[in-house]
Amino acid sequence: MPDERDMDQSKTFGDISSLDELNRVNDAQKATFAALLAAEGDALSERRQSAYLIRWLEGLAHVGYDTTLLDIGGGWPVGRVWATVILAHRTNYHLLDIDGAIIADARRRLPEYGLPAGNANIGINTVLPYEANMFDVVFSSHCLEHSPNLPQTLSEIFRVLKPNGKLVFAVPFGFDDSDEHLICLDVDNWIAATEMAGFDVLNYHLGKTYVMAGWDPFVLAQRKSEQPDTQALRALTSRYTKAGRTFVAPGSSLFQYSGNIVESGSHRVLNGAGSAVIVTPPRPVDGVLFLRHNFSGVVEITAGQQSQLCDLYSHIPYVQLVATADAASEVKVRVIGRSRGSEQAVLHGVLLAPSA
């Protein structure tokens, strides 16, 4: 078995356990966006704000008028969004964000919309500073995925919502190598997580109306009265977190290929039924990453005694983490056929268990 020194082309993800750390990784993301904004100017800002308004209107279509609403991670106040949400829909709007400057600005402006400055608060999404059963609606766009503890965040949302209250949220899905997104659930996992957290998913759509974020699911859910299945939710999120795990790219010497293999940037394309790869890393493989798209076929993934089939065809291209159930020292991926796509699989890498 290879040892840790053979782990070329790898990256280990950290863990986030405090508000300061969360602000640090998010500040890095915000700096990237600020640089883009400086390069593209007002046009980008305008497109973002229009897209954000559409998102709010899509959400408001399901929640209506005269509600008490909490916006988690709302970011900087946008005049036309507030006019629509607070004035046109007569919403008692509350805002929570981790950024002190945003909250200071919101507190200054809320009275202009007839609401108390105290409706804006600083906080992390794992601790909601509100009483139980306080809100009719919780809205959150691109914030839940930053949670250092998603089960706790969802349980807090469950607590502050009234029974039958609505949760409306958008999140990115799949795997990326950023430090600020520690969770890499795909769309079906997000839906399952929401249901495990005590909500009925009434509807969701996949869109790329939100500029620069790629495709994202926008979910409409309703809080049930019975208590959630927290244990199942914890099991799911622990399988799909990057925290402490190590990503290894498919060009690493840990991968041994057979069959018709094509290099495509950092990816390896396994072409034709029978093409395969065996990974024998120094630590157990917790998951295999594929770039799914509409040419992808069906693979068999064998980890230890367990084997699973996975249809990688996807209308939307994205990187999916396929969690492997058995902590195995050797994992094999083999192309076995196709459904709507062709007989191929694009390997993005593997995710290894944290070092002991």
Binding site: N203, H205, L206, T209, L309, D311, G337, R340
Partner: protein
């Protein structure tokens, strides 16, 4: 219920009215049996309009294809509330006359409402900012022509908002059985860029597909679109249900009202028909596993799992008349390794 159905082509406005009238009669019977049905439908339809209006700027030129008897509340919301220049079309003459009265009552042009089937849109090129169409496109007698007509009358960057049913049913008025993937592909081939879609709803009774697509500079591949549409059309097809003698299921298979279910890895269903197959109709749901469909020469592996249940037509053009369906496993989300087969179209 007989084990076979024969689909005749729906090629003219008369054919269309005939099959649609049958559907309307069936709906009236349902509504008589369930007094709350119409109210729930109206509410769901109003919500659908709300979702669509999120994408429309006030003052826009809007076309509603297959408007039906639009309620006064929704009509007022669109015209007075959102300040939209509302245009519409429908194949039913009395429906159009009713909307013309509504238009005139608020000082709009009566000619904004036109009678036509959806393959001919009686408005000039590039006129509209937005097209809304809910449960109408699937009734087209030539879906590619209909979508290209939508493209023609939309301005550049204009949006098409559409809702259509998913997959296969055995009605005569739904001439196509495109699934979500096929609808999205068809729109791309017809020069639209999809920006948002929803598969299934819990707040209306029937799960459907809702798409928002932008008419941008994307190229049109009309031949490719026609090829796709013809592979997912019922015209001249025979549909043999799973109870027909052409199916041989393993012992223990469960016969339901609309499908036969077999369970477990290795279970095989043998199918022998008189002619080459066009599509195998299976139930996709969260109990479904993965199957291999093979005729000795070619094979197709398919994950039938879906969080939204619907009947899916699996394209088998090119397969031999004798083939088998074998369960080979399931994904990690599925509740069981099973497959529900509704029938075969050939």
């Amino acid at each position: 219920m007989t084990s076979r159905l024969q689909f005749t082509p729906v090629e003219s406005l008369e054919d269309l009215n005939r099959v649609n009238d049958a559907q309307k009669r069936a709906f009236r019977a349902l509504a008589d049996a369930d007094p709350g049905l119409i109210g729930r439908r109206v509410q769901a339809y109003a919500r659908r309009w709300e979702e669509a209006l999120a994408h429309v700027e006030p003052g826009s030129q809007l076309l509603d294809i297959g408007c039906g008897r639009i309620s006064q509340t929704i009509f007022d919301k669109i015209t007075i509330g959102h300040q939209l220049d509302y245009h519409c079309m429908d194949i039913d003459q009395t429906t159009v006359a009713g909307v013309r009265d509504k238009l005139q009552a608020i000082g709009y042009n009566a000619e904004n409402a036109m009678r036509s089937d959806n393959t001919v849109i009686p408005f000039p090129d590039g006129k509209f900012d937005f097209i809304f169409t809910s449960h109408c496109l699937e009734h087209s007698i030539d879906i590619v022509r209909t979508i290209l007509e939508c493209r023609r009358v939309l301005r550049s960057d204009g949006k098409l908002f559409l809702a259509v049913p998913l997959g296969f049913d055995d009605s005569a008025e739904h001439t196509l059985f495109l699934g979500p993937e096929e609808w999205l592909s068809l729109l791309s081939l017809c020069g639209f860029r999809v920006i948002s879609y929803t598969v299934g709803f819990k707040y209306v009774e029937v799960g459907d597909l809702v798409v928002v697509a932008v008419r941008d500079g994307s190229s049109v591949d009309e031949t490719g679109a026609q090829r796709l549409a013809s592979r997912f059309g019922k015209a001249d097809g025979t549909f043999a249900r799973a109870t027909d003698r052409v199916f041989t299921f393993p012992p223990g298979a469960i016969v339901n009202s609309n499908a036969t279910i077999m369970r477990g890895i290795g279970s095989v269903c043998q199918i022998s028909i008189e002619l080459p197959p066009r599509a195998l109709v299976i139930g996709r749901n969260d109990w479904a596993g993965m199957v291999l469909i093979e005729d000795g020469a070619s094979g197709l592996a398919l994950d039938a799992y879906s969080s939204v249940p619907y009947l899916c037509g699996v394209d088998l053009v090119g397969f031999a008349p004798n083939f088998r369906v074998k369960i080979i496993g399931c994904n990690t989300m599925a509740c069981d390794q099973q497959i529900a087969i509704a029938g075969i179209l050939f």
